[in-house]
Amino acid sequence: MVDGINGETGREQLLEALRSIEMQTLIDLILIVITAYILGRIVTVVLSKLSENMSREGRIKVKMIIPAIRFVFYAIAFYNILMEIFSIFGPELFLLTGLLGAAIGFGVKDLFADFIGGIVITFEKPYQIGDKINIGNYYGEVRDIGLRATKLITPDDNTVTAPNSLIFNEAIASGNYGVSEMMVVIDLYIAGESDVKTAMRILRETVVSSKYIYVSEKRPVILLHKAFPFYTRLRAKAYVNDLRDEFEFESDVHTKAWIEFQKKNIRAPQLHILNIPPVGDEYESDRATRRNVGSDQRTGTGSESDSDSRKSFEL
């Protein structure tokens, strides 16, 4: 009975406290939120603009600090709001937190999970702004990490907004992890009877002479060769100078390699061996935005010759 009276009193006190909130206080709270948001946007825009004029290395370094700065603004805003609330409700705050807990539990739990995900991304850095990542079903360059969601630009120039809570359930692959160069895996398929040694030499020379390559002692070019019953796969693993040139790099290698292959009479695998009709062309952008199952899918574009060879791969 005593508890019932106390509970009744508490609710009345809470209602009383809610009625006592002045308009000015509400305006202050809204202003704090707006100010934090505007400051966050200004920092994002200014630093992003600045970083685009910098070197490739500098661009990524500058962009890395954007989420942290924004988080500081939001943290300050949150602290101020909390202080305001505490000054209004005082001991009744426990009741309010109970209500808040219920709201989070039933209504906005996803939003809360995204928010926590944003904090984890800011400090743990599973990926950073400027990285090329696979998240959920998408692959692209991280352009913005907000408190709720991460924005990616896919190779087809689609902007994908992925909720931050994905990091709790999905494995995330970052192709470059904070550096400008990124490994690109380039596959070429040639007929089984081809001179593999010559083909490997051509592929190496094509890769290392590309204007997009970054090659050093720590970032070497690796060539692999695997023979299949009716064709041979040549695989080059090399670093592209700027991750934004990933597909140009691959295209450049494919184009030049096939010109050289033809000079040396190295042919693409022929489908007629098995009398199987050609498989329909796969739309490039589908590959680029599809859920990642390996690094091969990140290295999408190719020349006409490559399309031929890919058909045979899909036998």
Partner: protein, 352 residues
């Protein structure tokens, strides 16, 4: 090249590369007692590698054969050694042994096979950026157990290098009429290369006039030279050293541009900063010119695959005064633009 040759004579006399010469000579001596070694001398454009190999040639006159490559080598015959070739082979400008295109490395393979199989010691010179590229792509470093990276010259080295070309007292240093009184503190424009911005910027830095203070407070004896002239000379070479970053070829060029014979003053020493704006393809061609030290149009077109594109780019590079044309029709980076070009290409990570 005029600039390099004019500097070479004096540079070889002062060198300041005793340790490097010693390393090369001991590598040759090791070879004579049965150890197989090859030497790579590596330096940037106008960095003094030809001068160093000239010095090595002088020291090994009776046992060395010298070959200089002056353009991209396309024929294997050009690198095959005649029978009377001596046991020490000096090869200058080995960065011309490859063409950056598919199928353009056959000469390099042949060369690497030659230097690893023949019973001779090969002392070679390479452009710094070509070397880094080839070492990353083909690991050529393992063929050269002795690698000599030519260091930058100190201020005194640059002073000696330049003044050796003149008689004592031939050049008159003055303060350019800026003020009759010697300043205790003066402002020196300090060139700073910011690879992150891809630019060379100039920051004014106050400096204490040390020669003046020495004379004033330590009462140092005059050595037959006017006080003001001594200070002006100090400041001239200080500015040249800062501008050239110790690159002898650039230092000589900066000197020549500031000299109004026989007068020179600190204010006449130019500060060169270029605001470079190029497309990626153009920057790549500029990088090729820097890496090969000098390229002709047809050589660039061979690598790029488009004569039209090369013409456009060369026009743009000439227009921005980043390169110049030599008598043999090859294009080179202007010495005074070298630091700006490197900063820009570092920004794009075309050189590193």
């Amino acid at each position: 090249m005029g600039i390099q040759q004019s500097g070479d004579r004096a540079f070889s006399e002062i060198l300041g590369l005793r340790d490097e010469i010693g390393d090369i000579q001991s590598a040759i001596a090791d070879f004579e007692v049965g150890k197989k070694v090859n030497v790579a001398i590596i330096a940037g454009l106008l960095g003094g590698k030809t001068t160093l190999i000239n010095e090595i040639e002088k020291l090994n006159l009776n046992r060395a054969t010298r070959i200089t490559f002056s353009g991209i080598i396309r024929d294997k015959e050009e690198i095959s050694l005649p029978e009377d070739t001596m046991r020490v082979v000096l090869l200058d400008n080995c960065h011309f042994l490859y063409t950056r295109k598919p199928g353009g490395f056959d000469i390099l393979y042949e060369f690497l096979d030659m230097i690893s199989s023949q019973d001779r010691v090969f002392v070679t010179t390479w452009n710094l950026y070509s070397w880094k590229y080839l070492n990353g792509a083909f690991e050529i470093g393992k063929y050269f157990p002795v690698q000599i990276l030519i260091p930058s010259l100190e201020k005194e080295g640059i002073r000696s290098l330049i003044l050796k070309r003149y008689e004592e007292g031939e050049i008159i240093f003055n303060n350019g009429g800026e003020s009759e009184k010697e300043p205790v503190i003066y402002i020196i424009p300090y060139p700073l290369e910011l690879a992150s911005l891809g630019r060379k910027i100039i920051i004014p830095v106050p400096k204490i006039n040390i020669p003046y203070l020495k004379r004033r407070f330590l009462k140092e004896e005059e050595k037959g030279k006017k006080k003001e002239e001594e200070t002006a000379e100090y400041r001239v070479f200080e500015k040249i050293h800062l501008e050239s970053k110790g690159n002898p070829g650039v230092a000589v060029k900066v000197w020549e541009l500031g000299l109004h014979y026989p007068h020179i003053s600190p204010e006449k020493i130019g500060q060169f900063s270029y605001d470079i704006k190029l497309e990626y393809d153009e920057a790549f061609i500029l990088h090729l010119i820097l890496s090969y030290q000098g390229l002709k149009k047809d050589e660039i077109a061979d690598m790029i695959g488009s004569t039209l594109r090369v013409n456009e780019t060369i026009f743009r590079l000439l227009n921005q005064e980043l390169i110049f044309k030599l008598e043999d029709d090859s294009f080179r980076v202007r010495p005074e633009a070298l630091r700006s070009v490197i900063a820009y290409l570092e920004k794009l990570r075309l050189v590193w």
